[in-house]
């Protein structure tokens, strides 16, 4: 991570087998596209195995929140197995209910308004965790005598 720039990792399972996976993916994309585009960074989970040392450094380089579609918690377990301890973890099935989360995966072409609301709700939960992890990380940096700054990284204050 470039000095002076704070980014938080959000890693979703993007599971292909259930609705929870679709929601984990889209809620994570909402963080990247809309909620905290300048502070959110992600990685494709399978890259921990298919990639190299740099990819496996992800959770060490960024405080990381995992977003799982079901209680198998694949994103959390794989991140901790190959990369590092996660700062927080979210299980979509605890928010929208196990039965709904484990219903068949859905194409984004067929999303209903109700499912879009679920995505927004999950994204809000990620946002809440994100803000806590961010604040805790900044406080840790301050305590260790480092000067935290978030933004574009060019020191312009943006």
């Amino acid at each position: 991570m470039p000095e002076g720039v704070i980014k938080i990792g959000v890693v979703s399972c993007s599971g292909e087998n259930c609705l929870g996976g679709t929601i984990s993916r889209l809620a994570t994309r909402k963080m990247i596209d809309e909620i905290y585009p300048d502070k959110t960074v992600t990685i494709c989970l399978p890259l921990f195995l298919a990639g190299g040392e740099q990819e496996r450094m992800f959770a060490n380089a960024y405080p990381t929140i995992t977003v799982d579609g079901c209680d198998k918690l694949c994103a959390k377990r794989a991140t901790e197995k190959y990369s590092g301890q996660v700062s927080d973890a979210l299980d979509v099935s605890e928010i929208i209910g196990k039965e709904i989360a484990e219903s068949p995966a859905l194409s984004t072409r067929n999303l209903t308004d109700e499912q879009r609301e679920m995505i927004t709700k999950v994204a809000q939960e990620i946002k809440t965790k994100f803000e806590k992890v961010f604040t805790d990380y900044v406080n840790t940096l301050i305590k260790s005598g480092k000067t935290p700054a978030s933004g574009c990284g060019c020191q312009c204050g943006g």
């Binding site: 993007s14 259930c18 494709c44 399978p46 298919a50």
Partner: protein, 134 residues
Amino acid sequence: MFSKIKVIPCSGMGKVYGLLARESALRVTQNLRPQECETMCLAYLVTGDQEAREKIEGKNCITLDGCPAMCAAKNVEMAGGIVVDKMKMIDIMKEYKGAKPGTATELTEEGWQIVDEIAERIAAKVKKLAKEEE
């Protein structure tokens, strides 16, 4: 006994290619050839769980990858799956020069049309493989 062919996309998070792979896999497994193929969570394979490995070990798989990192193909091979075809979206998109398929979050109409065409190709491969297995 006939075992459904696994169609496994990378579902890459960073670029539209990952979404093209994901949506093509869902289209073929849910709509075009549901009796002959199915998908499974790549993330589950990544965990290395024995149960996940058992689901794929020795099974014929078609992998759909967005980028040259080939995450789906590599992870399926590591889990013991037999990768009979590796499709790479970034290469397929060279056939659609100038197309604007959308983003990693959502596809455009053009993107959906491309998904439908890719899914038809996968369906033809599935049909052929299923016939060979009979």
